[in-house]
């Protein structure tokens, strides 16, 4: 039965070359090459930092990952608003919000891991209750919850509304969390990532270019993954409806014999 579903999926006219497929593939390839180049430049070509030594090398990928995560949540929030707005309501927005959040969670996880690896030699600890770190960790669990909501079955409309409201609630929480953690830990100020970002503006030459390349390639990788995930969500929905159709057909055939 599965084979018939696959056949039907292939046979339907919608399956003709999706718009921008080549551009997408080029973006994917470019982003992978860019990330590889960033790693190569970061590990072998650039000099060690005057203050941080070799630990600076992790900073060519860590801030780009964090940026991508926040970009993803921003897109997820905006497309959820677009879904909630009656005039622009379309399942496409719901899928886009889900795809962005999913990629965002992956990059948040990577941000936490790379940050932790960087923190161990630099601060002497895997974890510190710095506002940015704490907010990121809460963000991670917050959006895991959002992804859990997305898995709940229902009609397109029900799910769409539920998902969109959950995304808005989660996103609004982010500044509140950041502000409260900032107040909460103000008694024991630990080395903050913010200090680093202000200092980073003073770096020159190959280091700055490597960081820029890192930002560009991770952003491209993000859009590549986002569009792929978005298309996959569309295919999943179609597969589901085809599966239902096939099951109905089967029941009808049973009835005939």
């Amino acid at each position: 039965m599965t084979t018939t579903v696959v056949h039907e999926l292939r046979a339907t006219p919608v399956a003709k070359r999706p718009f921008g497929a080549r551009a997408l593939r080029v973006t994917g390839a470019l982003s992978l090459v860019g990330i590889a180049a960033t790693i190569w430049l970061g590990l072998w070509v650039t000099p060690p930092d005057a203050f941080m030594g070799n630990q600076v090398r992790l900073l060519y990928i860590h801030p780009p990952m964090a940026w991508v995560a926040f970009l993803a949540y921003g897109i997820s929030f905006l497309s959820s608003l677009a879904y909630l707005w009656r005039r622009t309501r379309a399942t496409a927005w719901d899928r886009l919000a889900g795809a962005a959040a999913e990629v965002g969670v992956v990059f948040t996880g990577l941000t936490l891991v790379t940050g932790s690896i960087w923190g161990r030699p630099t601060w002497g600890t895997w974890w510190t209750w710095d506002p940015l770190l704490t907010t990121t960790a809460l963000l991670f669990v917050l959006y895991l919850g959002y992804l859990a909501i997305r898995h709940i079955p229902g009609t397109d409309e029900t799910r769409g509304k539920r998902n969109a409201i959950a995304a808005v609630v989660a996103f609004i929480d982010v500044p509140v969390v950041y502000f409260s953690v900032y107040l909460w830990q103000s008694l024991h100020q630990t080395p903050s990532i913010l200090n680093l970002t202000t200092r980073k503006t003073t770096i020159h030459g190959s280091m700055a270019w490597t960081l820029l390349l890192g930002f560009c390639s991770f952003t491209m990788a993000f859009f590549w993954l986002l569009v792929e995930r978005y298309r996959l969500a569309g295919l999943e929905a179609r597969e589901e409806s085809f599966g239902l159709q096939a099951a109905l057909e089967e029941r009808r055939l049973e009835g005939r014999t």
Binding site: I149, A170, F179, S180
Partner: protein, 222 residues
């Protein structure tokens, strides 16, 4: 809207008066949590007294999840939800009513927990006014988020496991705010609580507003 809110709140409280589920199950659970915290961190009273604020508010958060579950389990049986939908009540009013009933029950629970904690952990409840005001604003925020998420998870088979996952990360600011404000109150420095009370108020207003707006669509097709 306010009249509808009063009606729904009265209904929920009447159900509680007759069934006594919160009184007989949620409150004892919260007390058990307080005792277990003592076992986990004790028996040094100095440690427990210093951490009273955090422990009490963790117990409140746990109980709040149970309260939300209860608040919606009475809507999920006997097609009560369809009844609510067909009743013609303003969804915003239903939200405010359910949140209000939950808040009132939580508030009573917090008073009991505070008294018990002061005995078990040897904490003097100084600056009772600051503590009480903190309870009021923090509880409003908690019940707004809880009621909103409860509606989101209503009619979902995995509700029991989904709700805590959604609820805890979002109310992290309430935990921090209430805990810090209580610490300031218990330490006899009420001035330090002011910023936290503002934060808790902003939180309660923001989520109260979101819930009031979003409840209609959620109830419609849940």
């Amino acid at each position: 809207m306010w009249r509808d809110a009063r009606l729904v709140m009265g209904k929920d409280l009447r159900i509680e008066m007759r069934s006594r589920v919160s009184l007989n199950q949620v409150l004892p659970f919260a007390l058990a949590v307080l005792v277990l915290f003592g076992l986990a961190l004790g028996p040094n009273l100095h440690v427990l007294a210093a951490e009273t604020a955090g422990l009490v508010w963790m117990a409140v958060l746990f109980s709040c999840v149970l309260g939300v579950q209860r608040s919606y389990s009475i809507e999920s049986s006997d097609a009560a939800r369809d009844g609510l939908r067909l009743s013609g009540l303003d969804p915003a009013g239903i939200f405010l009513g359910k949140a209000g009933a939950l808040a009132l029950q939580l508030f009573v629970l917090e008073i009991v927990l505070a008294l018990v904690a002061s005995v078990l952990y040897g904490t003097a409840l100084s600056e009772a006014l600051v503590l009480a005001v903190t309870c009021v604003v923090a509880t409003l925020g908690l019940s707004a988020v809880g009621t909103l998420y409860g509606a989101l998870a209503l009619g979902v088979r995995v509700r029991e496991t989904l709700l805590p996952l959604l609820f805890f990360p979002v109310v992290a600011p309430v935990l921090m705010g209430a805990m810090k404000a209580w610490q300031a109150g218990l330490a006899g420095t009420p001035g330090k609580a002011a910023g936290w009370l503002e934060l808790l108020t902003v939180f309660a207003v923001a989520y109260g507003a979101i819930g009031t707006i979003a409840f209609g669509p959620l109830l419609e097709d849940g």
